[in-house]
Amino acid sequence: MASDLAPPPKTSKNPLGLLMIAAPVVLMGLFLLYPALRVVLRTFGAADGSPGFSLENYARFFNDSYSLNNLGITLWTTVVTLILLIVVNLPIALYLRFRKGRLATFIQALALFPMFVPGVIICYALIRYIGPNGLLQSLLEHVGITGYQTPIMTPWGPVIGLLWDAMPFTLLVLTAGLAGISNAAIEAAQDVGASRLRILWSIVLPQIRGSLVVCTSLNFLSLFGSVLQPYMLGPTSPELMGPFMLRTFSSVRDPLQAGTQATITFLICSVAGLLYILSMGNRRKAEKETVA
């Protein structure tokens, strides 16, 4: 009978289907697309709200060294966390791909565990653990290591919190990518004497390029717009775009400037969004070809 990929039989062109998806589509249009477009258009108008095109709001942002510092620290945090996510998760994913057994199960369970921990609790746990006079400092003191400097309230605080948060997703995407590599290809390379590094570089990495693009682009979107971890674990100044937008909206009560910051976030993130959509399209095409 018909496979799942084929269109459903007998129910040709049923307008009832359109009616059933209408509610979520309207919601998305009304509360996602419309407000986003509205904000983008408004920020390209005058600061006092008078009609006409103007770059006043953007001039204000880009002439303000505080705003620029915030943008800079956001980019720094995003890039550093992205690199660390790959550096930490790729070895774990490789280990899980080639080893089975109790230790592998234990490692997998631990690495995926953050998936079950809500953000507020992660932040709280990290403050009590790596914060000043936290458990880690006590542990280090007991083995004779003194002079521990806490990363909390420094730019590394959010990096650690975000790393914790994004680990399971990154690992899942990478393990899924690695599962597609055949043992035969790796054994053949080993037979002709290729080193581990060489195998990683020439066989493994090209095969998981798609997975790397997917997890990096989606992580970029969530890291760049993160609020909770930077707010709880980072310094008050400079602040990341997330807390910056929040404060501009709620405390400074300047919705137009908050909108300008949001539009700048949209623009920078659109690169990652586009990469993600393209790689998803490629993936679908590849899936269709393997099915056909």
Binding site: T11, M20, A23, F31, V39, I107, L139, L172, V227, F249
Partner: protein, 268 residues
């Protein structure tokens, strides 16, 4: 088979224990500590004194009920809106089906908080900032994807042969849906509802931006307690108290859905 000493595995496991396990353990220890002076490795005095103190606080209860009310409302609305759409995506052919599916996927390609900011700017016009309605709309938006994709997969998994057999013996379409399709898809749908409930309960950023300062949900209260540094134990007790049931719910959902689908529900 010769067991080689697995150095790489041990290094990874040890690093993960230090990075993932110990922070969570710290919270649990704090919840049962009455006194814990630095640099003692364990509390100087154990006890449950702070549990009753937390449970006596009126702000804890009011935040809890606010959260429960909003979360129930959001989850219910989300199910009402998304489940028919999931069925349509899984089982019906209609004009623009592919394009609509893609457009839902594309919604993930936006930075979520920037969207929330633009929504909050719009809410200023309608006086929805600081209202329950505003928070419900923001959170509802974050649930749509999970509530559409997981049930779509569930409806797709229902055996067509059984549906057709029922139709052959004369069952009407509603009867087939009620007696064959729904019971088979129900466990996965229930799991999706459970996951939506837990993640909505802990949704912080949207509720904070749109709800402040009038609406205090549980995660916002926890944040305030953690930042004001009054008593360390309050945050710890609340974390343990709220997180343990949600962990049980999520593990149950993962069991029903299978680990792959569960992970997909989280965006993987």
């Amino acid at each position: 088979m010769i067991r080689r000493f697995d150095l790489a595995g041990l290094v990874i496991a040890a690093a993960l224990v230090f990075f993932i396990l110990l922070p969570v353990l710290t919270v649990f220890i704090w919840a049962f500590a009455e006194q814990w002076f630095y640099p003692s490795l364990l509390p100087t005095k154990w006890g449950l004194r702070f549990w009753s103190k937390v449970l006596e606080r009126p702000d804890v209860w009011s935040a809890f009920w606010t959260s429960m009310k909003i979360t129930t409302l959001v989850t219910g609305l989300s199910a009402l809106i998304c489940l028919p759409a999931a069925y349509a995506f899984a089982r019906m052919e209609f004009p623009g089906r592919q394009a609509f599916m893609m457009s839902f996927l594309m919604a993930t390609a936006f930075p979520r908080f920037a969207i929330t900011i633009s929504l909050a700017v719009l809410f200023l016009v309608f006086n929805l900032v600081g209202t329950v309605t505003g928070v419900v709309i923001v959170q509802l938006l974050t649930t749509l994807l999970l509530m559409i994709w997981l049930p779509t997969a569930a409806f797709r998994g229902v055996s067509r042969n059984m549906e057709e057999a029922a139709r052959d013996v004369g069952a009407g379409p509603l009867r087939v849906f009620w007696s064959i399709t729904l019971p088979q898809a129900l466990p996965s749908i229930a799991a999706a509802v459970l996951m939506t409930f837990v993640w909505t309960f802990y949704e912080t950023e949207g509720a904070w931006l749109v709800g402040a300062p009038r609406i205090t949900t549980m995660p916002i209260l926890m944040m305030q307690m953690i930042n004001n540094q009054m008593v360390v134990q309050y945050g710890a007790v609340l974390s343990v108290l709220l997180w343990v049931p949600s962990l049980a719910a999520l593990l149950l959902a993962r069991r029903v859905l299978g680990s792959d689908t569960f992970a997909k529900g989280l965006g993987a």
